[in-house]
Structure formats: C-alpha cells, structure tokens
C-alpha cells in the first residue's frame, strides 16, 4: 500500500528495529485517596508482523497501557516515567500535531464496543472515508471507492448498501468489521485491538479474529491484542505478556507460556480456564476432538474441573501489597516475596518460579 509511508523522511531500515519499544513505562492516576500506579514500570517490544497479547484480569493495567501507547492518557492519569518508542521516535516527546498524524495513520485502535466507538449519526461509509481524506488527502470519490474496497476486504456482505447505513442498522459483528475497516484504512503499521471480540458471540468472534490475523499477515502489521481471554490468546498471539496489578509478571512465546508457565499467577490463570477438554494442560500436544471431523469423538467421560483455585481478589490499587504484588494470593510465597519486589529476568518476575525438567 502506498499509504504506508513512514513519517521520518530519512532512510532508516525499519525492519531491523522493533516497531514498538516500551521501556519502564509508568502511568499513574491522581485520586483523592492518593496516587494509583495503574501501570508501574513495564517493558516490552513488538516486531513488525508480530502479534503480542497483553493479558490480565480487570484492573491489571492492560487497557491503560494500550491507551498510553496512543498518547490517549488524560488527567487524572499522567505519564510518571519511562518511554514508548515507535520505530525511531520517542513518543513521550511527540507534540499534539504529531500525534494527530500518527493516530489513525501509523497506529490504529479497535475498541471492545463498536456501538460506542462509532459515531451514531454518521453513515458507516463516511466514518471510514474520514480517515482516508484526512490522512491520505483523497478526494471524496476516491475515498468512497477505497472505503468500498475496505468493506469488501473485511467481509461485509453487500458493501455498497452498507456504506450508506448507520451503525444502529448493523449487528455487533458487522459494526466491529466497520471499525476494523476504519482502523485499516490508512495502512497502519501498528494495530492495537482492545478486547476486540469480548462483546461478540463465539461464532462471530471466530470470524473477527480470523480477519484480524489475515490482515496482520497481509500487511505485516504489528498487532497488540489486549484481552482477558487466554483461549483467544492461545489462538492468535505469538508472544504473551501477563499483567498483574500494573506489572508484567511473565513474558514468553505463546507455546512456552501455556506449556511451561514460570510465574505462579500465570499457572493459576491457566488453571482457572473452564476448559472444554480435560487434562489438556497436562498434555499440551493432545489432539483436539473438534479438529477436523467434529463427530470424531473421544471417550473420556470424567467430570472436567479446574484443578487449582486462585483465592482472593485482584488487590486494590490504592493499597498494593509490598514486595511482589501477587504474594498474598500466591501458594509459593515466602517472607522474601513480601519484603522485596522480584526483578524481571526477561521471562518472569518471581523469586520462586515453577521449574520444569529439561
């Protein structure tokens, strides 16, 4: 796509550097009860064409992280330290006009709820054309033609008619396709999808995830997927960062994370997935009974039950526990965990990580 022109004019080899590099990022919120460290020193990077998942429960800081990458943190939230680099640029120094050029063009966002993210009084086609005209300077005929192509690309049936429909005339899945079309319109090199399928039914969810991955492959986009759903992660991500109480507690390639989680919190999250199959976590390579012929059954009649329980709740950000923030809920915690915060060793931040025989 000719639209994908980097804003830096000099000839840098963009493929040789990470698309996105987050270093020790801190986003805090001022509240009447004190400062809340919603994101507290996280680091990760994302390569072009890679899908990285940020996983966590509510309040873990995953959505705040994604908003801060787009420069969308507003008071009472503030940038309390660290840096976000996008290609060769430090975004913490970006001016508002630079942000306007970046957002929607170089980096785009797909929200969870397409009903609230689309303008209800603007025809869907116009909402996609808007970015094309603003960022790429297309005329209205060209923009409409391109919007039509995009609608077709994201699998909207009867695209010509749909261009002139309003969001309320569409189903949730169709609106999410419109939002994805609008996000893809200017050929972004980074797509952030924040719970893109949480509001959708499973049969539609499968269609949307498939679409996101297809576009990622076709455009070599970096995809940052923010989600609470580990099953979605397993099927879409290349690498996974697990967040807990504002920190990344584990970061690993997806196969490794699922087969050999190191942090006890990751293990607990995996154990609490209500599983369609039994014992899959013991035998990660096991055949899935619904692959291929769905009628080819299995004979295991045991009652499926998660094996271990994570007690307690996600901590209150006003009163994060000392040391490792997971220690009050952790079955492996010792006095050390309460006393000092474990450093992130490139894989996990834990004094007593789970060990596996080689």
């Amino acid at each position: 796509m000719e639209a994908n022109v980097p804003i830096a004019p000099d000839k840098l080899d963009f493929d040789a550097m990470p698309l996105l590099e987050v270093r020790d990022l801190k986003i805090h919120f001022r509240t009447p009860e004190g400062t809340v460290p919603a994101v507290d020193g996280i680091s990760f990077s994302l390569e072009p064409g890679e899908a990285l998942a940020l996983v966590g429960e509510s309040g873990s800081g995953k959505s705040v992280t994604s908003l801060s990458i787009l420069g969308l943190i507003s008071p009472p939230g503030f940038h309390a330290g660290g840096s976000v680099r996008f290609r060769d640029r430090d975004l913490s120094a970006a001016s508002e006009s630079e942000w306007l050029r970046l957002r929607g063009k170089e980096m785009a966002l797909v929200f969870q709820d397409p009903m609230h993210a689309l303008n209800p009084v603007l025809k869907c086609g116009k909402q996609v054309e808007e970015g094309l005209r603003l960022h790429l300077g297309l005329g209205s005929r060209q923009a409409r033609a391109r919007a039509l192509e995009l609608f077709r690309e994201v699998g909207i049936p009867d695209p010509e008619r749909r261009l002139d429909e309003y969001p309320h005339q569409m189903s949730g899945g169709m609106r999410q396709r419109v939002m994805i079309a609008s996000a893809l319109a200017c050929g972004p090199s980074l797509l952030i999808a924040d719970e893109p399928t949480t509001a959708l039914d499973v049969t539609v969810q499968a269609q949307i995830l498939e679409l996101l991955l297809r576009e990622r492959d076709a455009r070599k986009m970096g995809l940052l997927l923010v989600t609470h759903d580990l099953s979605v992660v397993a099927e879409t991500a290349d690498r996974v960062a697990v967040m807990y109480a504002g920190k990344i507690v584990e970061l690993a390639p997806v196969e490794d994370l699922f087969a050999r989680p190191r942090h006890p919190y990751t293990r607990a999250l995996l154990d609490s997935i209500p599983d369609l199959e039994m014992d899959t976590r013991d035998k990660p390579g096991r055949e899935n009974p619904f692959d291929g012929n769905p009628l080819a059954g299995k004979s295991d009649d045991a009652v499926p039950r998660p094996r271990r329980r994570l007690e307690g709740n996600v901590p209150d950000p006003h009163r994060f526990p000392s040391g490792c923030r997971f220690h009050p809920r952790c079955p492996r915690a010792t006095g050390l965990c309460a006393a000092a915060e474990p450093a992130f060793d490139g894989r996990a931040a834990c004094y007593h990580p789970l060990e596996y025989a080689a």
């Binding site: 499973v202 397993a234 999250l269």
Partner: protein
C-alpha cells in the same frame, strides 16, 4: 411439595413468548419478536440443566418465562405437575418462595442503598420467614456463600464483583428454594473469580439438593456445571443431551459450529473454523423451515421448507433433518 415419582420438577411444553413490535403513528402491532417459539423442556429435581446459545436466541427469556417473571403468549408450564399458568395467587406466592433467580450483573441487581443485611432479609420478610431470627439467618446465609457475617452491615459498593455475586446467591437462597435459575451468573467476572463462584454453586447444590437451570453463552462454563445441556437457536431448543453425550458427539450442525468456533486454550494451532457463516437472523423474522438453514453448510431442500421434529432417545435428542428418526 410432593408429586408423583417421575413427574418433572418443572415442565414447559410448546411455550411461546412473543414480544409485540409496534410501528407507525398509531403504534399498531407490526409483527412480533418470537423470543420463545415452541420451547419444550423438562427439568427433574436435583439436576442441573445448562442452557446455551448466542445472544438473542431466547435463553434469558426462557429462564424468566419458566419463573413466570414474563408471561408466555401460549403453551403450558407445570411445577410439580401443577399448572403454573393457572395457579391461585396463594399457590403462586408459594412457588415464588421455592423458585429463585440469580442475575448476570451483580452491580445492577443489588440495591446500592440497602446494606447487605437488608438485602438478604427482604425476601424473608416478604414471605414471612424466620420472623425474629432474621439476623441469625442472614449470618448463616453469608457464611454459606463464603462471606464474613460482619459484612451484613456493609453496602454493595464496598464489594468486588465476585463478592457481590456471592451476595446475590445468598439472597436467592434466603427463602430456601428448591429451584434456581442462574442467568449468566459468572459472565461479568474475571476468570479466576468465575472458578470460585462455580465451585460455590456446585457445593451449594450438593449440600442443599438444589435444582439449577444454568444459562450461559460459555460452553466451557456449561460443561463444568451441567448434568444435561440444551442448545438454543432462535427461540427453540435444537439439541439436548446428557453433558458427556453432547460434548462427545454433538449432532446438530449448529452445536458443532458453536464448538468449533470456541478458541481452545492450546497454542500452536491457529485454527479458526468459522463453520457457521454470517450471523444469527432476526427473531422477528426467523427463516422458514429449520431456522439454522441460512448458516448451515449441510442444508438441503427439506431444511428450507419444514421445521425438523425433535428425534432421538432420552439421553440425546436433536431437531435436524440429518437425523430424521
């Protein structure tokens, strides 16, 4: 209440719940949303029936209609063999005591101005239970759902989603029900909390001999808690079977599509099988014949013309022309 052995606790046959659609200046009837359209289900004492389906399939309407929180348009409904739709007001009040509901959203289903003690005492007061010993009973209820008795003096906003859902469950237990409809009770909770609440529901069932209708869109959750599973599509049950039967060998193409669409927590195989194309049609204007035929990869002529009958034995029944007898 006693009933003949073999009589289901609750039995719905050919239930229809239609919501009229009005249009134009005079608000004339212009069709109806057929939320339930020929819904049949027997629930036996002591079992957990999981009701699964996508949004708009009518599963929540089914739960509410079975409790007569919504009046059905047509069909019959019995409770211990008695006609629930023509019950005396007194008998209906007795039914209300024995059949309760837990809602999805513990944020909007608890009154923010009432402390937990009052929330739990209200159903007892309405039904004239535990007069004078309400406080003891409240404490017991809190303990039975894993909360501290001191919490009775606190307000809902002081609790997390999981704790609120425990309060909502305690409220449902306040009148000593035998039947509870749980409508997506864990859908708004984090996964680690979901597991805690499901454990609680399973434990309470065992201890108190409860019967559940468990409504969810999440097959993983349904599999964990159900004895039998009913799959709904556009106002009807299309397949119902014992849990292990259904998960081993789903027969209806819709059930198969639903299973195939669920992402599996096993990485390494990027395998979306969007076997059902398109989206659920409007329940105001369901397709002729089998309602699923518009999305079904296996549909043939007959599917487009006639709605298939329910066939099969006690342990596994399906409404699909691929399984005509």
């Amino acid at each position: 209440m006693n009933s003949l052995p073999g009589t289901p606790l609750l039995s719905a046959s050919n239930l229809r719940t239609w919501f009229p659609l009005r249009a134009g200046f005079w608000q004339r009837a212009a069709g109806a949303v057929k939320a339930l359209d020929g819904f049949n289900l027997d629930i036996s004492a002591g079992e957990t029936v999981g009701l699964v389906g996508e949004s708009g399939c009518g599963k929540s309407t089914a739960g509410r209609t079975l409790l007569r929180l919504i009046e059905p348009t047509d069909g019959s409904l019995t409770w211990h063999g008695e006609d629930l739709l023509r019950m005396s007001p007194k008998a209906l009040r007795a039914f209300r005591k024995r059949a309760q509901i837990v809602f999805q959203d513990p944020y909007s289903s608890l009154n923010p101005r009432m402390d937990i003690g009052s929330i739990l005492a209200e159903p007892m007061r309405i039904h004239g239970l535990h007069r004078g010993s309400e406080q003891d009973r409240t404490r017991m209820l809190l303990e039975s759902v894993g909360l501290l008795p001191e919490y009775a003096a606190r307000y809902p906003h002081e609790f997390s989603g999981g704790q609120r859902q425990r309060v909502a469950i305690a409220r449902a237990l306040a009148t000593e029900p035998e039947f509870i409809v749980a409508d997506e009770p864990v859908s708004s909770l984090d996964v680690s909390i979901q597991a805690q609440i499901l454990d609680l529901l399973l434990g309470l069932k065992e201890r108190l001999g409860l019967t559940y209708l468990f409504i969810s869109h999440d097959l993983g959750v349904i599999r964990l808690i159900s004895d039998r599973v009913a799959v709904m599509y556009l106002g009807r049950i299309v397949e119902i079977a014992r849990r292990e039967e259904l998960f081993r060998a789903p027969l209806h193409p819709y059930t198969q599509a639903l299973f195939a669409a669920i992402p599996k927590p096993i990485p390494g195989k990027k395998r979306f099988r969007a076997t059902a194309t398109g989206e659920v049609p409007s329940p105001a204007n369901p397709p002729a014949g089998c309602h699923f035929h518009t999305r079904c990869p296996l549909a043939f002529d007959r599917c487009r013309k006639e709605y298939p009958p329910m066939t099969g034995g006690e342990s596994h029944r399906v409404a699909c022309w691929l399984h005509p007898e």
